[in-house]
């Protein structure tokens, strides 16, 4: 590894690891092309967010400790998900607010942790992507990325750099999709109603593809769209930017 290369630890996220490895490969490709050396520690699973949001601080801490131990050695830590990145960046320090040593380590990790789109544009200053996609696309702003990390322009900057990509904004692009982690299981009916509003908003744009930066939301949106028999394709934005749409079928669709 050359001295100039940024040593990046990829926090894969559990959903990407289990359901859609292509997203992680897309992340690796995008960051490698921008001069990073990517390492994927095997000792990683979940950031602890489901436990944290369920009020289970004890288990959330155990998972957070593992992430801190494994990732604090890198120059940067990047996750292809706004909510997992926000968990590490915003909530780890809060989680250890009463333990000075861990709190310091959490703060150090927080400073170098980024969501993928933000890392590419804000840190690596990527402005160009060499790929073409002749599609009308709309974007769903996932809540954590948007409100906890301020991710709004970053994915748009990059999407607009894709040749042929026609970006149309949904009227309610910033509105929650109803996923909410365990919320979608605990309050399934309400979650579905909110997902329906999201689907309607997407359909109103007449886009044939919807992109986003968080697999949880995307699985929720895609699952509802295919159940409704809609043909709009759903993908993680990284797949498009890395030109990897041919590698994998849209979420919830057959290959």
């Amino acid at each position: 590894m050359s001295g100039e290369e940024k040593n990046v630890g990829l926090f894969v996220t559990c959903l990407v690891d289990l359901f859609r490895p292509t997203v992680a490969f897309a992340a690796v490709k995008l960051m490698s092309e921008a001069g990073c050396s990517i390492c994927v520690p095997e000792r990683q699973t979940c950031c602890g967010q489901p436990a944290f949001n369920s009020g289970d601080r004890h288990d959330a801490r155990k998972m957070a400790e593992m992430v801190i131990e494994e990732f604090e050695k890198f120059d940067y830590v990047v996750a292809p998900s706004g909510s997992c990145a926000a968990m590490i960046k915003k909530h780890y320090p809060e989680l250890f607010s009463d333990q000075a040593d861990w709190h310091k380590r959490a703060l150090d990790l927080s400073r170098k942790t980024y969501e993928l789109m933000s890392f590419l544009t804000d840190v690596l200053d990527v402005k160009e992507v060499e790929t073409t996609l002749n599609r009308k696309v709309t974007y769903h702003d996932s809540c954590s990325g948007l409100r906890e990390l301020g991710i709004k322009d970053q994915p748009r900057t990059l999407m607009n750099a894709v040749e042929g990509l026609d970006l149309v904004e949904g009227e309610n692009a910033e509105r929650c999709c109803g996923f909410g982690g365990t919320f979608c299981l605990k309050y399934s009916d309400i979650s579905t109603r909110i997902a329906d509003d999201k689907c309607d908003d997407i359909l109103k744009t007449e886009a044939d593809m919807v992109l986003g930066g968080d697999l949880g939301c995307l699985m929720n949106i895609a699952g509802r769209l295919t159940r409704r028999g809609e043909t709009v394709e759903v993908r993680h934005v990284a797949e498009v930017l890395a030109g990897m749409c041919d590698d994998v079928a849209p979420i919830s669709r057959k290959g």
């Binding site: 289970d56 919320f183 895609a222 699952g223």
Partner: protein, 474 residues
Amino acid sequence: MKLNAHNFKENAAKALKDEDLQASLAKLGTGFPLKRLAAAARLPEFEALRDQARDIKDHTLRHLDFYLEKFECKVQETGGHVHWARDIEDGRKIVYDICESVGAKTVTKGKSMIGEEMAINEYLEEKGLIPVETDLGEYIIQLRNEPPSHIIAPAIHLRKSHVEEAFRKTHTELPPERNLDEPEDLLKEARAMLRKKFIAADVGITGANFMIAETGSTVIVTNEGNGDLTQTLPRVHIVLCSIEKMVPNLEDCATLLRVLARSATGQEQSVYTTFSTGPKQMDDPDGPDQFHVVILDNGRSRMLGHDTHDMLRCIRCSACINHCPVYQSVGGHAYGSIYPGPMGSVLTPAIYGLEQSCDLPNASTMCGKCEEVCPVRIPIPQMLRSWREKQWEDGPVPILQRLAMSVWAFWAVRPKAYHFGAKIKMRLLGLLGRKNGHFKSLLFSKAWTKSRDFPAPEGKTFQQLWSEKGGRRS
């Protein structure tokens, strides 16, 4: 009202199927939020004002004891009375005793959430008095004998036809041939009816958006003018408020007023902003002979200095409610508390106890929109989470949920075993799901699959593929 929060799920299921309610909610979801956005855009210093508003409330809460006592002194100086109510029983008794002392029969009421919290109407009725709500929305729901579904638009769940129905049923002198199709007709009918009550009232009860320590004044904002008639015509004016409504001085009150209406309805200011300072003075042309302020605690002082302390900054604008995707889906009655939506889901457990309302802090996607629009920047998701933590520690959590989390956490901190298991499960799931790319149903995941397809995994996990490719591990 009687708390019905433990039935949240059933209430919500009913609400989702109620077409009238859904039509009303669709209007609300676009109405207030767009107006707020436009109002904020017209005021360049709006964001800075929000910071100031937060700081004013924070300062006041830090010195609440001082300001409450100062307020009491000032009210007494102007000839008024302050009554301290530890809980709603206290509050109700104080109000009734005042009414009884002047031999009151008819009591008019301006809109007051503290009045709702005390269920003061029911109490006064039991004692033989006639309480009459004079805010149009409150009047309608009083006729229908139901609780408010929104803190500033209490009848937002109703359609025009519901109002006509309520008037025809209760206004016995109303000729059946009278046309009540248009909102104006309904308004005229309500006004004619309420005029008589305003004149007849012995006591007028209002709420207070603010108490001002510097002057001993209480402040209400209304759009109908009913508040003014309620508090100036009768002989006695009773103000119902709670400890956190305090602000130090007029200047601070003005700052809060600038963010209040904009956040609530998108108005620059409410139509009426009324300051009440003591009873009628020597050279006043009108006003009440007696001025009473009933200050309710009801669990709030327990919040001071604890996890939900910041919630006491709330100025009841309803921005969080108006913007909440869950509220927009199920409406206010589903929450089973007079305080619905995000602010209610923090406040209700504090006032009524977590056991009675354990669904509420959980019934949120944690999308953070509430915090984004809150004029006093209350970190509502964080407060909801603190209730969830309390519940996890020593409250009722469904056993299956606890078990699922424990199992997940057990494997999540054992990466080797986790990855091994994941490899097998995803492989299997990938193969089974390959045909359609998703599952219509899946064991143990009915909550997901009853309305959504479950996307099939690609097959191999990323960890597995990375190892196969010989990717960098350290």
